[in-house]
């Protein structure tokens, strides 16, 4: 019986020739990640347990992205605790305001994560790096603390669901729509404890930004990780970013899957997830009249260059509807600079959008765009749980940057065709 991509990476990092689903193993880690919300809890545990040093200062990344620029005194204290820890422990990859980005956009961009590597992060969307053909998964702060101390983590080897992608997306349909479609199909626990493995002929038509946003939301189907096969597009992305040798992994021909789904990308329509679960999906033609108060374009799911370019293409020469706030958040400093140089900010500001420095901010109801009771937002983010963006009686509708931008113009959830 052959192995999946995930199983091969885990076996290699456990020093084993072969692993099977269900097996408990200990793996060597190539990167351990934390942010300003999860790292303080990890540092407390690390210190309480009496550890005095980290396993490798170059294999730890601390990114201050959730409540930054600091929203209050307590958040500032958390960042200070992380900053001091990084300095004391010789953590090389510490990113603060001015050079940071949203962690899951930043680490691939800087080449800190690469194909074939084994990565844990104290943030559920750490599964994003599967887009690079890496095994990466979200854990809690205690696992992060143990990872920083020992360079290892325990895993139960997952079984997998395979998604065989064919065809090509239609204009204005994005990776976000594909992953929302899939979550709608299999449910928020449809891949619980499992890997979601993406391969097939259609991969050549999916950009790295599309793949990153798809792998990012594997957790919203309950998955342990999402992972893409390695190809020329992955290679081109990593060239110039990753300066160390890396290994790529493909699934064995006789690998066993719990299920295999064939997805024809040309059949995917723009998709919106209604409150309060990412599985409550409707295609854009089924949405009906949903008036909105706010639009958020950004996050670790959709704050990358292609996302901003798509939004700008739709917002160019138009204006955000009266009584709608549209907040655009480039995911990293590099993306911010590129968007500025390309004139995207001019388009956004002239359209009546607010453009923010990189932050997770509103996605988790932290700051920079909180909803009042009864308000509705269309967001390119990843979760629409009760109270996710603010008041427990507010609502979040998840969509692509194309749908979010079109909706900002009309003031209700709208297809791109309504504004172009």
């Amino acid at each position: 019986m052959g192995m999946t991509m995930t199983q091969k990476i885990l076996a290699a990092h456990a020093g084993l020739d072969k692993v099977e689903a269900g097996q408990l193993i200990k793996c060597k880690l190539d990167m351990v990640l934390g942010n300003d919300v999860t790292t303080p809890v990890a540092i407390n545990e690390f210190e309480k347990a009496g550890f005095s040093g980290v396993f490798d200062g170059s294999k730890i990344s601390l990114v201050m992205d959730h409540f930054t620029p600091n929203k209050d005194i307590k958040s500032a204290a958390h960042c200070k605790q992380c900053r001091d820890f990084a300095s004391d422990m010789g953590v090389k990859n510490y990113f603060d305001v001015g050079d940071m980005g949203i962690e899951h956009a930043l680490l691939p961009e800087k080449g800190l994560v690469a194909a074939g590597e084994c990565i844990i992060g104290a943030d559920s969307h750490t599964c994003t790096y599967g887009a690079l053909n890496a095994f990466s998964t979200g854990v809690g702060s205690t696992d992060m603390a143990a990872g920083m101390a020992t360079g290892e983590a325990w895993f139960k080897v997952p079984s997998a669901i395979k998604f065989n992608l064919t065809g090509k997306l239609n204009e204005y349909v994005m990776g976000k729509d594909v992953i929302l479609h899939i979550i709608g199909m299999i449910g928020v626990d449809g891949a619980l404890y499992k890997s979601m493995e993406f391969s097939g002929d259609g991969l050549k038509n999916l950009s790295m930004d599309d793949r990153l946003s798809m792998a990012n939301m594997a957790i919203e189907a309950g998955a342990k990780n999402g992972i893409f096969a390695f190809d020329e597009i992955t290679k081109a992305y990593q060239d110039g970013r990753v300066n160390r040798p890396y290994k790529t992994y493909e699934a064995d021909k006789d690998a066993v899957y719990d299920a295999v789904y064939d997805i024809d990308l040309s059949k995917i329509k723009s998709t919106v997830a209604f409150p309060h679960l990412p599985e409550n999906t409707k295609t854009i033609d089924e949405v009906g009249e949903v008036k909105i108060d706010q639009v958020v374009i950004g996050s670790c799911t959709n704050g990358r260059m292609e996302d901003l370019e798509m939004a700008a293409k739709i917002l160019k020469g138009k204006h955000v509807a009266k009584n709608v706030r549209c907040i655009v958040i480039p995911a990293t400093q590099k993306i911010y600079l590129e968007a500025m140089k390309k004139g995207l900010f001019e388009i956004f500001v002239e359209a009546g959008c607010a453009v923010s420095t990189p932050t997770c901010g509103p996605c988790l109801g932290g700051h920079m765009g909180i909803l009042a009771k009864g308000e509705r937002a269309v967001a390119t983010t990843n979760r629409n749980f009760v109270g996710r963006m603010g008041h427990p009686e507010s609502e979040v509708y998840l969509a692509s940057p194309a749908i979010a931008a079109a909706s900002a113009v009309t003031g209700k959830i709208s297809d791109v065709s309504e504004v172009l």
């Binding site: 999860t38 347990a49 626990d189 009760v386």
Partner: protein
């Protein structure tokens, strides 16, 4: 080891945002987090919960954000055990790693109602519903996880 308490029952997909909303994640203090536990799904939880009480929920408990503040808040609120049909995987890890006892038992979840008084024997995995006079059997943990829980959490087990 045994737990005994009154049940607070919830449905499917209880996510970590409702267990501890992000607006309170600017603190890592266990007591402060416990003061807002379950706030967005059950505003009266903190008022009603007593030391030793048990949370029972359906599928996919603890889905969403990896915030360890969720099991921390639950444990610090006085809850002695969480029983669910299934747990989201990060929450499952976090509960084991922070030594919050959890059990997967669909039969118990189907039969236990809100307010029932329940006893849990962690050594045998037997759950006794004192109110209804029923018993249910949960899956025991693999030895490796038992060691982590018995040591008082992952880091304590690593230090051994």
């Amino acid at each position: 080891m045994k737990a005994f308490g009154k049940v607070h029952k919830y449905g499917d997909n209880v996510d970590t945002d409702v267990i501890i909303p992000a607006r309170y994640l600017n603190t890592a203090d266990h007591k402060e987090l416990a003061a807002h536990c379950m706030e967005d799904i059950d505003a009266d939880f903190v008022k009603n919960v007593k030391e030793g009480d048990i949370i029972v929920a359906n599928q996919n408990f603890g889905c969403g954000s990896s915030r360890e503040h969720a099991p921390i808040a639950i444990k610090a609120s006085g809850i002695s055990c969480v029983i669910a049909s299934t747990f989201a995987r990060i929450f499952y890890r976090n509960a084991i790693n922070t030594a919050l006892p959890i059990l997967e038992c669909d039969e118990a979840v189907k039969n236990i109602d809100n307010g029932d008084e329940v006893e849990v024997d962690f050594d045998t995995g037997v759950i006794t519903n004192k109110t209804k006079g029923q018993t249910y059997k949960a899956q025991p943990f693999p030895d490796f996880m038992k060691e982590i829980i018995n040591a008082g959490g992952l880091l304590k087990s690593l230090k051994k």
